[in-house]
């Protein structure tokens, strides 16, 4: 494999310990968790989930209660400042987390279930029914989702969190379905599936026990993608004032801030903390997704270590697909290539 020639040596890199490799291979889940990106993403998600659950209890003030502290900048009493009628923005952010997380994860779950059913069915079965399912998911990918969701939530009466979550879930499953179909198509003719079929396993058992476990990574990453989309959509709907204004969520805070001309008045605290929370949630989800990507496609791993120190102290730049070589004529005889 190594491209060698006169005056070129390969650096002295110790071969991987075979036992260690085997252990690593055995604990796939463990390997996913030791990935720094996944861990930090999951920790951030965990904190936000705790806030979603206990936010109501943690909030120092009632988020809707007026007070005489009108439009104050952040202070020890009001961490994120106050609104035009003296509401505490920190409490609004804490209480609003629940709605955002609920809609995000419910919509993600609904979309993932539909996506798995349609994607795997249309990938595993053949015939006109499968083609039809695939055509439907392609149609749903192409139709712009946000205008459709805006129209539907506008039409449906009393759109609370449940409605919004279901509407988003039912309109955003197609991307996952498409990815799953492609992967199922490639799995269905593999040897282990053929073997299961030859031993007379039922179609549903093959799908459930042979195919689905091999789709776990794609299912997880399409779930996370949908959660990101659902969170962004819910916040956008609340921001433009379409969804119901009964419960607090992050978009709701931005809606009031925009309506009350917060930025022209210099009330940056009304926007910035919420925006950072949204970005925090989005970054946490992307980090988990990166981890899954690296898990599935090992070539994406270890991007930071591009320079490696060889045994003789010289530095070699590592690059995927290239055998690292050193131009050092004086040492070529010692190593004896």
């Amino acid at each position: 494999m190594a491209i060698t020639g006169v005056g070129i040596t390969t650096p002295n890199v110790a071969p991987a310990d075979p036992a260690q490799t085997a252990t690593r291979r055995r604990h796939g889940l463990h390997r996913l968790l030791v990935n720094g990106k996944v861990t930090s993403g999951l920790v951030m998600l965990g904190v936000l989930t705790l806030i979603a659950v206990f936010g109501q209890a943690l909030a120092p003030f009632d988020p809707s209660k007026r007070s005489s502290d009108i439009l104050q900048s952040p202070s020890l009493k009001h961490w994120f400042g106050t609104t035009h009628i003296g509401q505490d923005i920190f409490s609004q952010v804490l209480v609003g987390t629940r709605s955002v997380m609920f809609v995000g994860f419910t919509a993600g779950l609904v979309a993932t279930i539909i996506g798995v059913v349609i994607g795997v069915t249309s990938g595993y079965l053949s015939g006109s029914a499968a083609e039809g399912l695939s055509a439907i998911s392609n149609v749903f990918i192409v139709i712009p989702a946000l205008p459709l969701i805006i129209i539907i939530t506008n039409v449906v009466p009393n759109s609370g969190d449940w409605t919004i979550a279901l509407v988003i879930g039912f309109t955003s499953w197609a991307w996952g379905a498409r990815l799953l179909r492609a992967q199922t198509l490639s799995l269905r003719r593999r040897d282990f599936v053929e073997a299961a079929r030859a031993t007379g396993e039922s179609t549903w058992r093959i799908i459930g026990f042979e195919i689905l476990p091999n789709l776990t990574a794609i299912i997880a990453s399409s779930f996370i993608g949908t959660v990101m989309f659902a969170v962004a959509t819910e916040i956008a709907l609340a921001f433009v004032g379409i969804s119901g204004i009964s419960e607090w969520n992050w978009g709701e805070i931005l809606f009031w801030a925009q309506g009350q001309q917060a930025l022209p008045q210099g009330a940056w605290w009304w926007f910035v903390p919420v925006g950072l929370c949204i970005a925090l949630l989005g970054t946490a989800l992307s980090l988990v997704n990166f981890g899954i990507d690296e898990f599935v496609n090992p070539r994406l791993r270890a991007s930071g270590q591009s320079t490696v120190k060889a045994s003789d102290g010289s530095r070699v730049r590592m690059k995927v697909g290239f055998t690292p070589v050193l131009a050092d004529p004086s040492r070529s005889k010692e190593i004896g290539i």
Binding site: P147, V155, Q258, V274, S303
Partner: protein, 326 residues
Amino acid sequence: MSYFLRRLAFYVFTAWAALTINFFIPRLIPGDPVSALVNGMRGQIDPAQIQSLTVLFGLDKKQSMWEQYTSYLAQLARGDLGISFGNFPLPVSEVLTQALPWTLLLIGVTTVLSFLLGTLLGVFAGWWRGSWIDGLLPATTFLSSIPYFWLGLIAVALFTGVGSFLPASGGYEPGLVPGWSGEFIDSALRHSLLPAATIIVASVGGWLLAMRNMMVTVTAEDYITVAHAKGLSERRVMMNYAARNALLPSVSGFGMALGLVVGGTFLVEYVFSYPGIGLQMLDAIAKHDYPLIQGIFLVVTLAVLAANFLADLAYMALDPRTRKEG
């Protein structure tokens, strides 16, 4: 050729599906609000317009669903989208022709620019892994997880204000008449700079990441090693061998990402009060202007389909396998 025909058939099918969704949504509105609006305006709108709204919204309950559907399709074929309640007495088609060029230009230019910029950066980031461009990734990820509209709000707060070169809202100076005069074009360009920059900053990260990951995957292929072994220059291997192949998934994803970009752009238009389709749609929803909402959904969907078709043509030009007979 068969690839081309299959794609064409798919777009015809999708356009039909969009028309049908557009047919059913207003019929699901509970409580018949359009009838109420039409009755309230009787005497102001002429019978032909009432007839066209009747067809669009199924106000005539005596007709069967199938009759409603066929007359709906026939009416759309004539380009009649009814009359806008919010912009009375303008027909919907006229409101759309006024708003559409703004959105098309804004989305068209920004999407192409952000695709080119992100893809180019992605080529470098994937080729020179661990370099400073690769180090941009966390920053762009963070930027792409911020909603477009929030970025727009911050941009307005930071870069506009009294005496600033960049205006905070609108599409052109209020006093000007839209046309091909130098003054108007200058004003329109100035008004579009900030919305365009917002969309580019928010969307470039996605392209960068997709291209970078494909480049990383492609650089490990054997043909890249062969190209190196042949002694081709680094630049040639990077651009003509690696990037050219890594580009394919990005191009096929381009059309599909448009659906998402359209949604983000609507909100940017809202934040900047940019006189495009998105602002019209949110305005129409606030005013319960159902004919305009339906018309916008239809036009936006058809525009996205057309853009997808263009992306497919580009894909055919790039990937010779699609041109193979059979």
